[in-house]
Subunit: 462 residues, 2 copies
C-alpha cells in the first residue's frame, strides 16, 4: 500500500472503462456520436448502486421528501415560462482556418487558466483579464481568424404528432427541475405533504453542448438527480445551509477522498437568472476542480412563472402558519454520470504488489458493481466452486472464474474493483472453509463456508 | 371478501391514479401533452419495484445475462441498418369533416371487432372482413369523407451539434434492442461471456404514435425492458421455448391473475420483417386482450445488418464448438409502463366491508409502493407512533398518519394498496404491542413491537 499513484489523466480511465465494460462510446461501430456514452455490464451496476444510495438518502429514509418521474418530452410552454426558450443559449465562435469550434466562455477561461491570453487576444494588453464583452480574435490552435460569436441553442427540439407547424414543436428537457415545479400541486395534494417538504426526481436531461468534453463529465445526454425543497420564504437560508451540508456529506459517504472535495460559492455575476445564491460542491479531477453539484436558492421564481403562464395559482395555504404564500425553493442538483465518473476517478490507483505493478479501483465496497469473485484453485474444483458462486449470487453480484493463474485472476478483479475474491482449494473439501482475499490490503483470511455469507454481507453493507 | 367486483373501465383507475399520486397527465397545468404521462410519488415507487423484480429475475440472479444502459439519442446509421429509417411508419387517415385522425389498421380492426364495418365501408358487402389494401371511405364518428392514407413516421427526429444539414439528424430510439446489437462485441469481450448468453437493458424509447390511447398502454414515451439472448443457430427453438415460459411465469410472480394471462402466436402475416416466429404474452384489460410482452426469434438479422452497414464483422468464434458464426437472437421485450398499468388494473377491486363499499388495490405485497402505515389511535399517542414510523422507515416504505378516524385511514390505505396498517393504542404503552391489520382479509392481529420488523419483513418479501 506504499508508493501508490493516483489517476493523472482521464485517458487511462477511458481505456479501462472500455476494456472492462464500464463505459463505451455510443454507436462506436459507426464511428461514435460525439457527446453520447453507453454503459456496459459493470457501468450499469455502478449506476444502480449510486442511484440507490441517492434515492435512499434523499427519499426512502426521509419523511419529508417524495419522489416522482416525469416524461422527457415536455410541453413547449413549460420552457417558455421557465425562460429556457428565450435564454438557454451558449455563445460559440468558429475558426475560419481550421474550422474548430469553441464555446466562447470556455475559450477565454482556458486562456486565463493557462496564461495564454496573448494567443487569442494578440492586440490587447493582457496583464489584466478581459472584461465581459471583449472578444478574442485568434484561434488558440492554428492562430486563424475567429468568427463573430453566434448563439447556439442548448435545447434539443423535436416534433410531436403529424402536423409540421410550430404548434407541434416540443423539447427534450434540459433539466428535470421544471417537471417538478409544474407538478407541485398534484404531488403536494396527492401525497398530503406540508411545507417544508421536497420532491425528488432522477432522470435523463439533454443539452446540445457546443463542445462535449472530459469523457462523461460534459455530455449531451445525462442523468440528473434533482430535489426541490419547498419552504416558507423566511426559512430559505436555514434550509439552504442544511442541504449544502447534507449534499457535501453524501459524497464523503460514497468514499470520495474528502481532501479532493470543496465548496465554492457562486459570485454574483455567475448566478443563474433564477437564483439569489448558489454553492457548488466541487471535485479535484485530473483536469482541475469542477462542479459535482449545485445547491441553489431559487426563491419563488419558478412557481410564480408557471402560475402566471398557466393561469393556475401555485400559492400554497400553510395550515400551521394560517398563511397563503408561494413557497421558496432550495434546489439540490447532482448528476448521476458525473458522480459515477468521480467515483471511478477517485478510486483509480496504481500500486505495487510483491514487486509487480497493479491497477486497482478502490471503490467503496457498498458501491462495487461486482462484489465477489469465486475461484477454484484447480479446474477439478470447478463444480463446488460454481455451486458456491450460484449460492452467493442470491445475495451478491458474484462471478465464477477458472481461467488463468490465481494471481492473474486477482489482477483482473482488482482492476474492476471487486472487494473480495474467494478461492476454493483442495482443503475446502476437508475443512468446509475458503480463502477470502481483500482487494485493498491483499490480505487473506480462512473463512468457514457457513459464515461466508454474513462475513461478506457485513463488509458490503454501507 | 365476497361480492367483489373488478375494474370495468380504465376511467376509474385513471381517476384513482391522479387523486392518489400514481400517474398524472404530463404538463397538466398547460393542458397536457397527448401521449405523455408523469409518475407521482406512489407511481415512481411502484416503477422501481417492477424494475427491481425484472432486473433481479433477468440479470442479477443469472450467470448468463449481463446488463447495459445505452444513450437514447443514437447515431442515424443504426436506424438505417435496422430498417427503421426506411420502414418504421404507420398509415393514417384523416376525416375531411371533423378532422379526427385514425391509424388505418386500428380503424379497420375496431370496426371488425365491433361489427360496424358498414359505417366505414358503406359501398361494400361487409359479410366478409376486408382484404389487405381495401380502404375505408367514411369516418366512424361523423360519417365524413376520409382522406387517402398517408405515411406517419414513428421515429422522433432531432438535430445534434450546430450544423443544420442532414448530417446532423439523429433519432430518439424507438426501441432499446438496437443499442444492444451495436454493443454486442464490446459487451461480449469485456464481460467474457460465451454464447449462449444474454444482454439486458431497461430504458426509455419513443414512438410518435398516431393515436396514443388506453391511458399509459399506448403512449409516445415509454420504458422498455428488453433482453437479447444470443444462441447458436441450432438452438433457436429450445431457447425460444425456454424464454416464453420464463417470461409468462414472471407475470404470475407479480401476482397477476393467471386466468387473465394467455399466450398468442403471431400469424405469418403479422410477423415483423426480422422475426421468423413470435409469441406474445397477453392480458385481458377492460378494453380487451392486449400484448404485454413479445418473445421473438430474430435470427441473425440484426447482427448481420450491422456487420454489413458498419463494415465491422459481428461473427463470434465459439470456443466450445470450435466454430465461427453470427449468433441468432431470441428477444424478450416487455414494457415497464404497460406492466405497471397491468399490475394496477389487475389489483383494482371494489368490495364491501361491514356494509360499506371500499376501493382496494390488491397489489402483491412485495410490489406495494407503500408497505406500512402507522396510526396513533389518538393524537396523544403521536410521539411514540411517529417514532415507530421512523424506525420502520429504515427497512420499509412507511408513513405516519394521524388524521381522521381509524376507519377513514384504513380506507385511504386500502385505496393505494398498503398491505399493512399498524395501530398504536393506549395499551401499547403497557404491553409494547400494536395491532396489525391486513389489507385483504381486514383481520387484525396483536404483535409485539420487538417482533414487528420481522413479521412485516417476512410478509413483504417475494
Amino acid at each position: 500500500m506504499t508508493d501508490e499513484s493516483r489517476l493523472e489523466s482521464l485517458d487511462a480511465l477511458v481505456s479501462l472503462c472500455k476494456r472492462r465494460g464500464y463505459i463505451f462510446q455510443s454507436s462506436e461501430i459507426y464511428g461514435g456520436l460525439n457527446g453520447f456514452w453507453d454503459y456496459g455490464p459493470l457501468g450499469v451496476e455502478l449506476r444502480r448502486r449510486i442511484f440507490d444510495s441517492w434515492w435512499s438518502t434523499m427519499v426512502s429514509r426521509r419523511e419529508d421528501v417524495v419522489g416522482m418521474d416525469a416524461s422527457i418530452i415536455t410541453h413547449p410552454r413549460v420552457w417558455e415560462a421557465s425562460g429556457h426558450v428565450e435564454s438557454f443559449y451558449d455563445m460559440m465562435v468558429d475558426c475560419r482556418e481550421c474550422n474548430r469550434r469553441f464555446r466562447l466562455d470556455h475559450l477565454i477561461q482556458d486562456a486565463v487558466d493557462n496564461g495564454t491570453l496573448d494567443a487569442i487576444f494578440p492586440d490587447r494588453d493582457n496583464s489584466a483579464a478581459p472584461a465581459e464583452g471583449e472578444l478574442p480574435t485568434r484561434c488558440p490552435a492554428c492562430a486563424g481568424e475567429l468568427t463573430e460569436p453566434r448563439q447556439f441553442a442548448l435545447m434539443f427540439e423535436t416534433r410531436v404528432g403529424a402536423a409540421t407547424d410550430s404548434k407541434s414543436v416540443a423539447y427534450l428537457r434540459p433539466e428535470t427541475a421544471q417537471a417538478i415545479f409544474v407538478n407541485f400541486k398534484n404531488v403536494q395534494m396527492s401525497s398530503r405533504q406540508k411545507v417544508p417538504f421536497g420532491i425528488a426526481q432522477v432522470g435523463k436531461a439533454f443539452r446540445n453542448e457546443v463542445t462535449p468534453r472530459n469523457f462523461t463529465f460534459r455530455s449531451r445526454e445525462f442523468e440528473q438527480m434533482e430535489m426541490e425543497f419547498f419552504v416558507h420564504p423566511d426559512e430559505e437560508r436555514q434550509w439552504f445551509d442544511y442541504w449544502i451540508d447534507a449534499r457535501h456529506a453524501w459524497y464523503e459517504q460514497l468514499g470520495i477522498d474528502p481532501t479532493r472535495l470543496r465548496r465554492r460559492d457562486h459570485a454574483k455575476d455567475e448566478l443563474a437568472h433564477y437564483a439569489s445564491y448558489t454553492t457548488d460542491v466541487e471535485y479535484q479531477f485530473p483536469f482541475g476542480w469542477a462542479e459535482l453539484e449545485g445547491v441553489a436558492n431559487r426563491g419563488n421564481f419558478d412557481l410564480t412563472q408557471h402560475g402566471e403562464h398557466s393561469g393556475k395559482d401555485q400559492a400554497y395555504f400553510d395550515p400551521t402558519r394560517n398563511e397563503k404564500y408561494v413557497p421558496s425553493v432550495i434546489e439540490t442538483s447532482a448528476g448521476l454520470d458525473r458522480t459515477l465518473l468521480t467515483v471511478l476517478a477517485d478510486a483509480y490507483a496504481l500500486d505495487e504488489i510483491a514487486g509487480e505493478e497493479r491497477t486497482v479501483l478502490r471503490l467503496a465496497p457498498h458501491l462495487a458493481p461486482r462484489q465477489v469473485a469465486v475461484f477454484p484453485l484447480s479446474k477439478k474444483l470447478g463444480e463446488p466452486a460454481r455451486k458456491l458462486a450460484d449460492d452467493l449470487r442470491k445475495r451478491f453480484h458474484a462471478i465464477y472464474d477458472d481461467s488463468g493463474s490465481i494471481g492473474k485472476r486477482y489482477r483482473r478483479e482488482d482492476e474492476v474493483g471487486t472487494p473480495y475474491c474467494v478461492t476454493l482449494d483442495f482443503e475446502t473439501l476437508e475443512d468446509d472453509a475458503v480463502t477470502v482475499r481483500d482487494r485493498d490490503t491483499t490480505e487473506q483470511e480462512r473463512i468457514g463456508l457457513s459464515a461466508l455469507g454474513d462475513y461478506l454481507g457485513e463488509r458490503l453493507r454501507r
